[in-house]
């Protein structure tokens, strides 16, 4: 019971992190029409954050099993 509450709280934290990174003025910092090593910066940023959120969520729910 305690553990699942903790997991829920962590997930809510991840949600807030996601909001800040993807749906706040923070987004504009990386929203540039330039490239980085040939990749558009926005493309890298958005997929990078996406992957980060997936990994964090996976750690939050699967990690707490042990």
């Amino acid at each position: 019971m305690q553990r699942s509450i903790l997991t829920r709280q962590r997930l809510i934290g991840i949600f807030l992190v996601g909001i800040v990174l993807l749906c706040s003025p923070a987004l504009t910092i990386f929203d540039r029409a330039t490239t980085w090593h040939g990749y558009p910066v926005s493309f890298l940023y958005l997929f990078g954050v996406w992957l980060l959120l997936v990994v964090l969520a996976a750690l939050a729910v699967e990690g707490s099993d042990r």
Partner: protein, 907 residues
């Protein structure tokens, strides 16, 4: 090799395979060996979110506006992090109340209202049928493209084909047949459509693999990786500016993210797979990350494919929406084309099947049933509803798919179809306030939900659907430009003068504002009534209870057989009787007849029925066979409050009682131990007093004799005095040993541990007992190795043990011929000291007790000298030093006392 026939055969084979998977999974489910009770299958089934719109449309959007398509998937990624609470609540409520659709959910939340269920159903059908049309279009378009292989068909025009030759019609009918077969096997939706879920999960894999294949082809085969694609696109001038700002701006970005986040929860098909088909709450945990991961994977190649398509088809009229398929065709990749085609088929069929099942349930339970129930109030209903219900659902499936086909047929290439994905999202997003606020706020009322839904839906209709019709040329475009009756303030896409937003953002803003505003305003106009308050508590507080629960708030008169007959009519005799029998089992009564006609039974029947006909209709039906007395609001609130408190307490209580039980067990054990200690102490006291009384008796007797008779001859007097002295010594020795033992036992003894050489100790011991041996005419033989054998021990205590063993040995050795051997040797990680005598030995049963207090060996005829405490003390000393002591003996062959102590190797 890819002729038109091959394409059709492949498509049919694929549908056949789906059919086989579904059939197999259903068979397994019947045998209670579910294939879908896996968190991974659950997460995959959620990917029904990705339809043909994703599969073909994302690339089209990317070609047009760069990264503007991403919010459709970032929104679900974000909201997925909240599933641990939000979706969990929905799942748990639905399980407890046997909710089978989103319409049922909203209707149930606001007092099981038939009106709300109906409204939600109408909105869902109107919003989603065009979306189904989009899938039919995608399928028929992909068939058309494939049939012209190896040429790239860039027309995709279908409207000219007569209806009876239209692939899409047959696709629609085939899907209807498939959906009917696996969507309406049973009535009770709580039994879920396992076959369908298995097929959907399989389709999710197929479409992902297909899309990744074409992505890899476009990125790594046609080009040298991502950077190469970007470079070439930039060189060719087809590279879009990859920024949010250029893809519609931040406002649109945020609103699309929000819209998609709401849609992934509110779309009827998502509710179906995520809530209704959920077989285990714990599956949510994996979905929280696996579903976003799926979305990430299926989107990673969208931009490269779009760019590669634009590079390949530069200067042609090929629609970017078809790049996924036309790209491999243009490069002559027959197998890859076929795989992509099948993948697209997966994406489209998956959506259509689940969406139609969900909608047909809603249409049946929330539109048709209330109407029929109204009719049956006047004329008697048919005796067996269950077949009728199934026919209604099957009919609904066919009608919905035909509606989708007709929409596709008439909208054709019109704007209304192209942008329908987001328009559908905006429609179902109208459910969000009533759903989500209703899960967290008790104050929401039926009136509030109704007003919110109607306002939101009205705004959607006015600002999004009508303009799309106007743009398709079905309505005069003038009212878009100037507003109805020339009122500029009411221009649908610049409502109240709000301009500068795109149409979706504009609609979302106004519809949500009015929806939420009306919901809150009408909810707060009055207190929730009895039904609303009851349901509000069941929904809002659902997570406070570990297991789903339903409070049975009901008072009145009911007949159990009436209820069971009602259930039989809707569910069929067999299934209803089975359910009632199980309920009787649960309530621990012998048969269904003995079920009490109380609130719990009525509640059970109502929930059972809700699975088949929806909560609102179920409530009406149950009310028709029972005589319910109205409960007052205060009464209900009291009961609910009490119930939730009782449940909270009872959980706490259960925990407490478990703790108590554990404590009681411990206490019992402790008590036993104390009793045992007490008994031992008692025995000990009794033994000690006995041992004290005996020498005291001699001392007193001889003292009195000497006192009484002063004329006793000198020799005898001296003898008697000697006895008195020796008995006094015995007494003090006993007292000392008792104190010693007590000290060791209570851990109060002072231990001076040091390195002790056992060989040295044995020599000392033999010396100090030499006198004793000499008196008894016994010999002592020491067999000690030359090198030092060092242990960590208290020298004096260890000496006490050795002397005790030696004196025991000599005591029992035969008078005059006693031989005692002391052997010291290494034994593994221990040193072992053996003291061997050639006395009478110790009887086997006595060997066990010899280390207990006051248990002297009884081998000799002569009373042995000793207190009976030597061995118990020795055992405690050796134990304290980390070793052990025991005896080996065969009666008549002497006894060997052995102790071992761990080697001190300086470590």
């Amino acid at each position: 090799m890819l002729g038109p026939k091959v394409i059709v055969v492949c498509a049919l084979l694929y549908l056949g395979l789906l059919f086989a998977i579904a059939y197999w999974a259903d068979r397994r489910a019947d045998r209670k060996r579910s294939v879908i009770s896996s968190p991974t299958v659950y997460a995959l089934s959620l990917a029904v979110y990705c339809t043909a719109w994703t599969y073909y449309g994302s690339v089209g959007r990317a070609a047009a506006s760069g990264i503007g398509f991403l919010p459709i998937y970032l929104g679900p990624t974000l909201i997925a992090a909240l599933w641990g609470t939000l979706l969990l609540k929905m799942v748990r409520v639905s399980k407890a109340q046997r909710i089978t659709s989103i319409a049922d959910f909203i209707a149930s939340r606001y007092g099981k209202s038939q009106v709300l269920g109906g409204i939600v159903t109408v909105i869902a059908v109107l919003g989603v049928v065009p979306y189904i049309a989009l899938q039919l279009k995608a399928i028929s378009q992909s068939v058309t493209i494939m049939q012209s292989y190896p040429l790239v068909n860039d027309t995709g025009v279908v409207a000219a084909i007569p209806i009876l030759q239209d692939t899409a019609l047959y696709v629609a009918l085939a899907l209807a047949a498939f959906t009917i077969l696996f969507g309406t096997r049973h009535l009770d939706a709580s039994e879920r459509h396992e076959g369908m879920v298995a097929a959907i999960a399989f389709e999710s894999i197929v479409k992902l693999v297909a899309f990744l294949s074409v992505g890899v082809f476009a990125t790594f085969v046609l080009h040298d990786g991502f950077v190469d694609v970007f470079d070439k696109a930039a060189a060719a001038g087809v590279m879009k500016t990859m920024t949010v700002a250029s893809a519609g701006g931040y406002g649109n970005w945020f609103s699309l993210t929000l819209l998609a986040a709401l849609a992934v929860m509110m779309l009827p098909r998502q509710f179906q797979v995520a809530v209704v088909e959920n077989s285990d709450e714990s599956h949510l945990r994996r979905a929280v990350w696996m579903f976003p991961l799926y979305l990430l994977l299926i989107n990673i190649f969208v931009i490269p494919i779009a760019l590669a398509g634009q590079l390949t088809f530069a200067g042609t009229a090929v629609d970017a929406d078809t790049f996924v398929l036309t790209l491999p065709i243009a490069h002559g990749q027959a197998l890859l084309s076929l795989l992509v085609f099948i993948g697209g088929l997966s994406a489209a069929t998956g959506m259509v099947i689940v969406e139609t099942i969900a909608l047909s349930t809603m249409v049946c339970n929330d539109l048709v049933m209330p109407g029929l129930l109204g009719r049956w109030k006047r004329i008697p209903p048919p005796s067996d509803f269950s077949q009728l219900l199934l026919r209604i659902r099957r009919g609904a499936i066919v009608v919905i798919l035909l509606l989708g086909y007709l929409y596709f047929r008439f909208a054709g290439e019109a704007y209304a179809l192209v942008s329908i994905g987001l328009i559908s999202f905006a429609a179902v997003a109208q459910f969000a306030p009533a759903m989500i606020i209703g899960l967290y706020w008790r104050g929401g009322t039926h009136a509030g939900a109704l007003a919110g839904l109607l306002c939101g839906f009205g705004i959607w209709l006015y600002t999004l659907l009508l303009p799309s019709f106007a743009k398709s040329g079905w309505l005069p475009a003038g009212f878009l430009e100037h507003g109805p009756f020339g009122i500029a303030l009411l221009r649908p896409q610049e409502l109240f003068g709000l301009s500068g937003l795109n149409e979706i953002t504009h609609c979302l803003f106004w519809s949500m504002t009015f929806n939420i505003g009306a919901y809150l305003y009408f909810s707060m106009r009055r207190q929730p009534n009895v039904n609303e308050a009851t349901q509000a508590t069941l929904f809002v507080d659902v997570l406070k209870h570990e297991r789903p629960f339903g409070v049975a708030l009901w008072r009145g008169k009911a007949e159990v057989h009436e209820l069971s007959r009602l259930a039989e009519r809707f569910l069929g005799v067999e299934r209803a009787r089975y359910a009632f029998a199980r309920f009787a089992d649960q309530r621990e009564v012998e048969s269904v007849d003995q079920l009490p006609a109380d609130a719990e039974t009525v509640h059970f029947a109502e929930t059972l029925l809700a699975g088949a006909i929806g909560s609102a209709s179920s409530r009406v039906m149950v009310a028709s066979v029972t005589a319910e007395e109205a409960l007052g609001l205060d009464e209900v609130l009291d009961i609910l409050d009490e119930a939730s408190q009782i449940r909270a307490y009872s959980r706490e209580l259960e925990q407490k009682s478990q703790e108590l039980e554990a404590a009681t067990g411990e206490l019992k054990a402790a008590n036993e131990q104390l009793k045992e200690i007490d008994r031992v102490k008692d025995d000990f006291m009794s033994s000690v007093t006995h041992e004290l009384r005996t020498p005291l008796a001699s001392i007193r007797a001889f003292s009195e004799i000497l006192q009484d008779d002063p004329r006793i001859e000198l020799e005898q007097r001296r003898h008697f005095l000697e006895i008195i002295v020796s008995e006094t010594k015995r007494l003090s020795r006993l007292v000392n040993q008792v104190l010693d033992l007590a000290k060791i036992e209570s851990d109060n003894a002072d231990w001076h541990t040091e390195d002790v050489d056992l060989g040295e100790l044995i020599r000392e011991g033999a010396e100090s007992t030499a006198q004793l041996f000499a008196e008894r005419g016994a010999r002592v033989i020491c067999e000690v190795p030359a090198e030092p054998c060092v242990v960590t021990a208290d020298h004096d205590r260890l000496m006490q043990v050795l002397v005790n063993l030696l004196s025991n040995a000599v005591k029992f050795a035969p008078q005059g011929g006693g031989v005692v051997r002391i052997i010291l040797q290494a034994h593994g990680r221990n040193f072992r000291v053996s003291v061997i005598d050639n006395g009478p030995g110790i009887a086997i049963p006595d060997q066990r007790h010899i280390f207990e207090r006051f248990r002297q060996g009884s081998g000799g005829t002569e009373k042995p000298v000793g207190t009976g405490l030597g061995l118990p003390i020795s055992r405690r000393i050796i134990g304290h030093l980390g070793g052990r002591i025991w005896v080996e003996s065969r009666p008549g062959k002497g006894a060997t006392f052995i102790f071992e102590l761990p080697v001190n190797d300086g470590a």
